[in-house]
């Protein structure tokens, strides 16, 4: 077995996606595809789904309330940074604070519930998702209730202005700076997930998913292991919430972080491939690309072809996108039940060792 050549090592889905993501703004500008704006949403949801992937994909705990952590992240970011509160942290410190609060919320939910098995845990997380919205709505002294909190700070990236990239200012009119910022966050999230997956921590998650009793008999205490998974997933979800609200400079109302968001994240993980990081990225592009890029284009094409009038039900894809989602899920379950890019064995290290010492 010889070591793979360099170009083959680089021929990977994640690298390909990164190159495509870097090329997209150029292509978009040349042919006016209007894809940069929806791609920001794709990337935020990719981070949310990467968080869910740690909990559901790696550790095997069905989590139906991921939107709650997104909401907690959104409000943690808003409260720690908005100037109607005294804290007024900058973007980066607020984001750090968001991740910590998210992880803490994950531990707080996990501590009493992680002894529960399977479906019971799913029900608890579902309830947590609903309760969080109501708490945020009713705690209006702190969270401003349904008004939402605004304005929120934009990131300040000094070296860009210093090196002549001054035009990349983070305002609500500009799309590109946000695009690059979110891409950076996605890259960091992917690296974090991958590092964890191929380490003692990630192996303990996978072991608990595969066979909890066997894992325990190998000296792995399942509850702390699950707790770490919960906290990591929640921190990633919280960061995605923080990014989302900083882009709109407002948290919007708590009802935005509802069950549909949780289910969308779960769909991304299932369509992409449970426990597969690349799969989650592809899944996010597939699901949200479908909802935010493909369907509006189809709808406008149908309108311009004169098939439907703008007033009809089919005029706006929001009216029928869940129909398409459902269809996609059914077809996926029939054709590729393991997802678009099923998790592969992480055998890179094993292969390397084999290459050094061939079998006798």
């Amino acid at each position: 077995m010889s070591a793979a050549p360099m170009w083959k090592k680089l021929l990977r889905v994640d690298v390909a996606l990164l190159i495509l993501a870097c090329l997209l703004p150029v292509v978009d500008q040349r042919w006016h595809l209007d894809m940069v704006d929806p791609m920001r949403g794709v990337m935020v949801f990719a981070i949310l789904a990467l968080g869910l992937n740690i909990v559901t994909g790696f550790t095997g705990l069905l989590h139906l309330g991921m939107a709650a952590f997104m909401a907690i992240g959104a409000y943690a970011f808003a409260i720690s940074s908005c100037d109607i509160y005294p804290f007024q942290l900058g973007f980066w410190w607020a984001m750090l604070c968001t991740a910590i609060v998210g992880a803490f919320a994950g531990v707080l939910l996990g501590a009493p519930t992680l002894g529960l098995r399977g479906d019971y845990l799913a029900i608890v997380t579902l309830g947590f998702g609903e309760i969080t919205q109501d708490v945020l709505k009713n705690l209006d002294v702190i969270t401003k209730g349904t008004q939402g909190i605004n304005p929120l700070p934009s990131p300040h990236v000094p070296w860009w202005t210093a090196t002549g990239f001054g035009m990349l200012e983070f305002t609500s009119e500009q799309e590109l700076p946000w695009y690059w910022l979110f891409l950076g966050f996605v890259v960091v999230a992917v690296v974090v997930c991958r590092n964890l997956e191929r380490s003692r921590t990630g192996r303990s998650w996978l072991a608990v998913r595969e066979d909890e009793l066997a894992a325990r008999c190998m000296g792995i205490a399942p509850v702390p292991v699950k707790m770490i998974a919960f906290a990591t997933g929640a921190a990633l979800a919280a960061v995605s919430g923080g990014l989302w609200v900083s882009m709109y400079s407002s948290t919007g109302e708590p009802g935005n972080y509802d069950f549909q968001v949780s289910i969308l994240a779960l769909c991304i993980v299932i369509v992409g491939g449970m426990g597969s990081i690349n799969g989650v990225l592809v899944g996010a592009i597939a699901m949200l690309g479908l909802a935010n890029i493909a369907l509006p284009k189809i709808a406008s094409a149908m309108q311009s072809a004169g098939w439907v009038s703008s007033g009809s039900v089919f005029g706006s894809p929001n009216n029928w996108k869940y129909l398409v989602f459902g269809l996609v899920l059914v077809v996926m379950m029939r054709v590729r039940p393991d997802g678009l890019l099923p998790a592969k064995l992480s055998i890179v290290n094993a292969k390397k060792k084999n290459a050094v010492e061939p079998a006798p």
């Binding site: 100037d83 380490s199 192996r203 072991a207 894992a215 008999c217 190998m218 000296g219 399942p222 094993a350």
Partner: protein
Amino acid sequence: MSVASTITNPILEVDGVTMRFGGLVANDCVSFQVKRGEVFALIGPNGAGKSTLFNAITGVHQATEGRVRFEGKEIRRDWSATIFARMVLNGFVLAFFVTLAIRATTLWKDVIVANYVYDEPFPIAQAARSIGTSLWSMGLWAVLLPALIGFAVGAGGYVTLWSRARRTPDLIARAGMGRTFQNIRLFGELSVIENVLVGMHAKLRCGFLANMLRLPRFYRENVVAHQKAQELLRFVGLQSRASEAARNLPYGLQRRLEIARALAGEPRILLLDEPAAGMNPTETGTLMELIRRIRDSGVTVLLIEHHMRVVMGVSDRICVLNFGKQIAQGTPEQIRNDPACIEAYLGKEELG
């Protein structure tokens, strides 16, 4: 029935273990001692309670009566200063959050809203003082009651969890007891080498941050761990299949992988639950040789097996169970000629 002779400094003592599931007595006052460095076999017809006893030893089940001592002491989480401190800490954290949650609006109004004037620096000292005045104005009991309830729930919850999980498999495994399972329980979706690495979990030291940030000590530990895993795979003869999915291995090799995984935790005693089940004669032969090599490497082996060739071939001493009761104990030679054992396995002789 031969009386169990007392052994000085045994590695494992099973002392009058009784396991009851409702009315069913799976083990009835089983006692034996395992010497350091021997192969001790536990045999008996199907349903004799061998696997149940294994589960009681490794903490999967709690023995109804009796004790299991490993290297002279029972492995359990005893009440200690650390556990007390954790209980108190848990209580205080929950007390803090319950108080805060119940009084959140008032506190926020008094401390943040009252002191903050838009676009002016926040008077931190004044805000800190208003925490006190705000709590004081609520009245003592309005603050103390939620705090007490929170403390009771937090501390009580911790103690409950501790008392329920005093003898858990993970604790016992970390103490130096490795095991395999009768129905193979590998991590099927993981590769062969990863299965072994999971077995090493308790021996590895890198925590969450070191793993996430790939600190230098992660790489140092990773290289050593992979070398050790390869050595173990070579030890059981799986070195050429390190990167395959565990679930794709043939049956006999899966059993070997389970042994390698159990050995990865550097146990001082290894519990093998029917390692030769479903193996052909050649595979059985290599397995016997493997068990001898494990013993020679200094690991005591406790073995459940039905294959009499394996049992008689490798064990130093044997304990026989039937219907949960211990009916004989001794060397293979003694067991072979023990009338009670012959009866249990072959039935009573009716005719001469």
